[in-house]
Symmetry: C2
Subunit: 310 residues, 2 copies
């Protein structure tokens, strides 16, 4: 069956499109062998995460390949940011229904931009004929013992997010035709969905400061719930402090904007907790505090229930 | 769209089935955070490879989940063996059309056996609703500079394989109903397809000895072609020396057995080159030699062409 699995000729496609994205300071041996070989610095630990995107599940059918590729890598890279890791390399398992050149060229362009933007060479993976799926595995490194985990938040800590929330959910609504607005706004929101910016530098700067961190992927309240559960604490969110972009505020009612900000997810901001005595990095916004107990509590504007457990 | 992507509740499924497979001496932080954290020994380099299996492409529809899971991990692990790497950990991107308990229990059992057999804890990944796909990323380690690559074979080296070839292709023929034989033989051949044994110990023992190595996945001739291309040499294969199991010899004509051994692939034996002066490990069989030139050359029994380029 191996032949049936290879769109056109797997080797020629890989060589043509993906072979040259494997250069980086940590790459000892890139593509083309049974495995890649990577170098960490002395005293570093390896940080690893995997994230898949499927057509029709994580992105609409007939999406532009350049955007898919970029977003898949950005979303996976965001997990490195949330751990305070520096990027080292990635692998990609790519399943695709056809191997048409313009489409593959789009994937290559998106990967190429992501490789450059996140300093994350593509050192391996495989290519199979099948339903459109991108499975990205990211590898990073942290000085031993300094990864930022989810389980260190303490009552009294302040909860921060690194930027506005909800634009990604609005962008998806635009892409799916559920939200219509003028061209310039449309472009901005689409870009917020397709082009997340994993906050790698911020993550590194939070090492030894943040007691817990996570990236906002499932939705702010759900992600805070993950920290609460891991840290065995409760969370209070002051919804009046939730940052929403001027773009989003200008096109939907405040209630819809807040709903997307709290529950939309996939903004790939960092959400983290700092002891009250530690100053937050510039641009980060305090949105609540850690308390004893469990679950995530909002003021009444947070939803008709006003109180949710996760 | 995140909700639609989660069969039942992604978190509860992961917690129930896969969370407990993450223990190992190199695991600093296992499942349940944004990423896992792993420890290499001082002076080691990281070895990484990814390998996907799709239903209908790499295995027939309605295959037993325990076997799929085991085989997907074994096939990926074989790439670590081919590099001379020790196993460290793996991640799994699992896409599945439903989340029925008996089926998930099968996947868990297969993973659990593979984790134990290959000392490869499962430290992360994700779970998505979609066409049945298992994307395994394996992580291993080698002392710096000692990974066995494909590009070091020299004219005059002897070519070895680590065991019999062709059983996996015969096993697939049995599974697909193209080959019928008595029950005991059927069981043996099915197991050769579903339960490859990545040769991790052999790979480690070949460090600093083998000039090149690869695992037999695409088919012996194709895989030798990869070494030839990377090393810029030619290969001669003496087909009379190709090892075929007694089981396989007993059920098909010699010509069919040889065809499967040369071109069937997925046996996951190691194929490697040693300088003439170096003794091969016990059980390894010399099948040919490296020569100057390019491509892979067989004696006339190797196929109607007798000479093939890859």
């Amino acid at each position: 069956m191996p032949d049936a699995s290879q769109p056109r000729d797997e080797f020629s496609v890989i060589a043509r499109y993906f072979q040259q994205l494997d250069k980086g300071p940590d790459v000892v041996l890139g593509n083309g062998d049974d495995a890649a070989v990577l170098r960490l610095a002395p005293g570093e630990e390896l940080v690893v995460s995997a994230d898949s995107m499927l057509e029709g599940v994580h992105f609409p059918p007939k999406s532009p390949p350049i955007e898919l590729a970029y977003r898949a890598v950005a979303a996976a890279t965001s997990d490195l940011a949330a751990m305070g890791a520096r990027p080292v390399a990635m692998t990609l398992a790519l399943s695709l229904p056809s191997a048409e050149d313009p489409w593959l060229e789009g994937i290559r362009s998106g990967l190429s931009e992501a490789v450059a933007d996140f300093s994350l060479p593509l050192v391996g993976g495989d290519l199979t004929r099948g339903p459109l799926t991108l499975s990205v595995q990211v590898l990073g490194a942290v000085p031993a013992g300094r990864a930022i985990r989810r389980d260190g938040a303490n009552p009294g800590d302040i909860v921060y997010v690194s930027g506005s929330l909800g634009d990604s959910a609005a962008g998806l609504a635009v892409i799916e035709g559920r939200l219509r607005c003028e061209d310039k706004v449309t472009q901005t929101l689409r870009a917020r969905f397709w082009r997340p910016s994993p906050e790698l530098e911020l993550g590194v700067s939070l090492r030894d400061k943040a007691t817990a961190a996570i990236d906002v992927s499932d939705g702010l309240l759900a992600d805070l719930g993950h920290i609460a559960q891991a840290s065995k604490v409760g969370m209070f969110v002051d919804t009046a402090r939730i940052p929403v972009s001027a773009t989003l505020s200008s096109i939907v009612p405040a209630e819809q904007a807040l709903a997307w900000a709290l529950r939309g997810g996939e903004d790939y901001r960092l959400c983290f907790t700092l002891p009250e005595t530690v100053n937050a990095p510039d641009g980060c916004i305090p949105i609540g505090c850690v308390e004893s107990g469990s679950g995530v509590r909002c003021d009444s504007a947070g939803g008709s229930d006003g109180y949710r457990h996760f």
